[in-house]
């Protein structure tokens, strides 16, 4: 490490500040834009100081929505996004925990084969299989339902793989001690494995919640009923759906509101999240 080197310290901080600035600036602009009057954003000169229309803009987005733009009130969209993100995160974690448990602790035929099948799906993003998946969901009459929004996205190779890796670090003797103590497989899972995985589960939850929240293409495809619109795709509707120029001040207010829940999730789970990614407790 460079120590007591003023120039080194200065350089390091300069680079860090520049990096942060580049990342934060667009977010700053979005926040600023959401506080100005309609039209300010289109004059060509972007204001860099907050305007005076913040309360007005936000209350319009929150309470009136923009029916003319084909988007439902933001409250409903936020709720839809929340439901979708929660169902995906919880579903993914539940399924991955169980499948990782099966793969690590049970000896059944084709165990390795199934593991590789799961692993291979890591290489197939949603977009690649989106047409067949849509076909399946449509045939099951799940268009415009929460089930249709979430179930196809719940299977998760990433989480299964992460939990498998974690379970493999749990000493074999722990399982044996539990067996001697009279715990059957599910009891071992519930009493020993689950509590040991808490930090990993929290980390997974944060990642998967944001993954679910930020889904764009899939909800766009399978929802045509306004009452199932999610906020991320709703923003897109607001930009393109209006008959006039996009109302950037309202779009930006929506963007800021849409970004809040993931930020809150991270803030509240930060401690567990970091622990889950870095700590191996033994």
């Amino acid at each position: 490490m460079v120590q007591n080197d003023r120039f080194g310290t200065f350089l390091a901080h300069l680079i860090l500040i520049l990096g942060v600035g580049i990342v934060v600036f667009p977010v700053y602009v979005a926040v600023i834009a959401s506080t100005h009057a309609p039209g300010t954003f289109l004059q060509g000169v972007m204001p860099l100081l907050p305007g005076s229309h913040a309360i007005e803009n936000y209350s319009e987005v929150i309470f009136q929505g923009r029916s003319t733009a084909g988007a439902p009130p933001i409250g409903l969209m936020l709720w839809n996004s929340f439901v979708m993100a929660m169902m995906i995160a919880v579903g993914k974690i539940a399924i991955s925990l169980l499948s990782a448990f099966a793969i690590v602790y049970f000896r059944f035929r084709f165990r390795i084969f199934f593991f590789w099948i799961i692993f291979i799906t890591l290489m197939l993003p949603v977009e690649v299989r989106i047409v067949p998946t849509f076909e399946v969901v449509a045939n099951l009459n799940l268009l415009n339902t929460y089930a249709g929004l979430t179930i196809p996205l719940i299977a998760s190779a990433t989480a299964t793989f992460l939990f498998r890796q974690f379970f493999m670090t749990v000493p074999e003797e722990m399982l044996e001690a539990a067996r001697v103590d009279g715990a059957g497989p599910m009891k071992f899972f519930k009493d020993i494995l689950l509590p040991l995985s808490v930090t990993n589960i929290a980390a997974m939850f944060v990642i998967m919640f944001i993954y679910g929240w930020n889904q764009y293409l899939w909800p766009l495809l399978i929802t045509s009923d306004e009452s199932y619109y999610t906020v991320v795709m709703g923003i897109q509707r607001m930009v393109t759906g209006a008959d006039s120029e996009p109302l950037w001040h309202l779009v930006m207010a929506t963007v800021v509101l849409a970004a809040l829940p993931p930020i809150l999730v991270i803030l509240f789970m930060q401690r567990l999240f970091v622990k889950g990614l870095t700590e191996t407790e033994k």
Partner: protein, 349 residues
Amino acid sequence: MARIVMDDLHKVYPGGVKAVTGISLDIADGEMIVLVGPSGCGKSTLLRMVAGLETITGGTLSIGDRVVNTLEPADRDIAMVFQNYALYPHMTVYNNLAYGLRNQGVAKPEIERRVQEAAAMLQIGDYLQRKPRALSGGQRQRVAMGRALVREPSAFLFDEPLSNLDAKLRVQMRVEIRQLQKRLGTTSLYVTHDQLEALTLADRLVVLNAGQIEQVGTPMELYQRPETLFVAGFIGSPAMNMIEMAYLRDRGAAPTTLPGGTDLVGMRPDDMLLTAPAAPHLSLNGRVVLLEPAGAESHIYVSLDGNDQPITVRIPGLPTMNEGDPIPLHVPLEALHPFNTASGRRVSA
């Protein structure tokens, strides 16, 4: 309290590796049996078969008159202390002890009573609300013992429980385990590769080699009268010296008292004397190669005249000779161990 009977136990792993090949052993109620042997001899496998953590592929195992071959570990009425303790890291010490009892459906006040009793016995009462990570190695070891104690099982199984402790603590815990086992009178099976632990703990010692029993007996029986070359080499530190009969014959020192068929003669390092005893003995000459004072005793490494293989002599106190000095050695005839290399066994008269 129970008798454990192993009848021709076999363990063959799916790959065809034979870990245990035909072990029969009758363990009396309240006895402390120590299984000892080099790594890979099958001692841990055997213990885990008794625990129910490894399947038994042949023979029968009964604990307290009940054949338990196919029973789950929890149904065998045994308790096990693991090498790495295997404490549940997310539970307090109290819950670690109580977990097995709760699974058995023991009533709450009874759990409380047993945990407090075990905690008092092991002096871990002050740590009951702590988590294992806040404990030292010795304290964790006690908790692991406590988890076995509270179940009040008919047998304790110990899988090298002291090997993760430092030397001083190991001696202390060894004494405590022995006292506890004697006080409770619970049948115990103890696996170790440390022969000092084996000799001091055991009522009877079982030496295993390559999945089979080499010899069973009290520690003193095994030390004084090893029945096979393997046991002779394994028990005792420093190891027994082996001198070929042919060498003794060449020197005209071959004792006539040894039974026919003897071609290798074993001598304990402490039976090799520097001054001739009154009893009938044989005498050898050698040269000091290395002196190794070890406090109350000293080890002298000697190269015998006309024989390259160094032998070890143990004397009390400090050596008075120097390295390179010639040294006479005298061994009482009754302290000789006659062996046959072809059969690998002791030759009896």
